[in-house]
Assembly symmetry: C2
Homo-oligomer: 200 residues x 2
């Protein structure tokens, strides 16, 4: 590996057709639920999806001990969907899927989600976005720092696929866990540490 | 203050009857919502209450753009109610109220909540319990480390009020924010830093 240029990008591995077939129809949310539950089982991290906020209007009690909600409405979430603790650090992220093959529409990222990611990042959390191009079967991790830079420098309604491929970290599919984003994150955390050491 | 014994405990201030009257009927949850929203406004921390998990069974669409949930059930939460980021650290806690004046029943703290607090603590989060004795109008912060010690050394179904008063940090009521638990926490964090420095 001596002398190998540092700029080498991690290439998506050739998809295993057997794996691709088996997981067809699995949403990013399903994959993340399995992944977080795996991380918890092997005691690697404690990360959970937050429940969907629901405004309950009416509850009836048809059976003993079991309240039945008979009128309720979905509410807008104030935060991102996922957060937790990893290596002593606060983790916070949002996960999005798109069928588009050439770009990710920024309309999919709600303003309050972006504001929340920036807020937790400023307070010291590791904040990022997971984007899956479901037609391509590719998932990327975009650090909030990169996303902020993109938004500052581009007046666009969408992020091009090529930018995501270059700036994001590709997360190869594995069976356990399906979306191993913490391993992708480890690369960034380790590079960050290296950069800080080089500065010394 | 020179020579003052180190063991001095912070005494609950005498309640202001005007404040007491004004806040009567405010639940700990209401107070915490206001407090967290205040912390967010002044940019001190990013801490949110998680939504109550609800299992949606049936949804109808009586009006355009507004889904109406017509059958749903409350589910058991897998985590605590509150978490977020403060001073670069993950924060995680559960809040409980009791009308009992002499003890806090451990039946109120569900097993999965305790397990979750221990898990996030082991992974580096600041984890604690807020207990309000509503009849006494007193709120205490109990670090998970103290709680674990209590559970190891006592085979009891409840925690005596006196133990909580001695081991916990009293949180005096203020108007903004109503439950200033981060200031209480600062004392512990600073003492922790002092202890580590003394060890050097």
């Amino acid at each position: 590996m001596i002398g190998y240029p540092n700029k080498k990008k991690i290439q998506p591995p050739v998809s295993d057709p057997a794996i691709s077939k088996a997981r067809r129809g699995m949403s990013l949310e399903d994959d993340l639920n399995k992944t977080n539950s795996y991380y918890l089982d092997v005691d690697r991290a404690v990360i959970f999806k937050k429940p969907t906020p629901i405004q309950v209007v009416e509850v009836s009690y048809p059976a003993r001990n079991k309240a039945k909600i008979t009128e309720a409405y979905y509410r807008q979430a104030s935060t991102t969907d996922y957060n937790g603790v990893y290596r002593g650090l606060p983790i916070d992220f949002e996960a999005k899927e798109t069928v588009n093959k050439t770009s990710f529409s920024l309309a999919k990222l709600h303003k309050h989600q972006l504001v929340h990611l920036v807020n937790v990042y400023r307070h010291g959390a590791i904040a990022f976005l997971l984007i899956r191009f479901s037609s391509l079967d590719e998932t990327y991790l975009i650090m909030i720092e990169s996303l902020i830079r993109f938004l500052k420098n581009h007046d666009r309604q969408s992020i091009p696929y090529d930018w995501i491929k270059n700036e994001g970290i590709f997360i190869p599919y594995s069976l356990t866990p399906p979306v191993d984003y913490l391993t992708a994150l480890d690369k960034i955390l380790t590079e960050g540490v290296k950069r800080n050491e080089e500065k010394k």
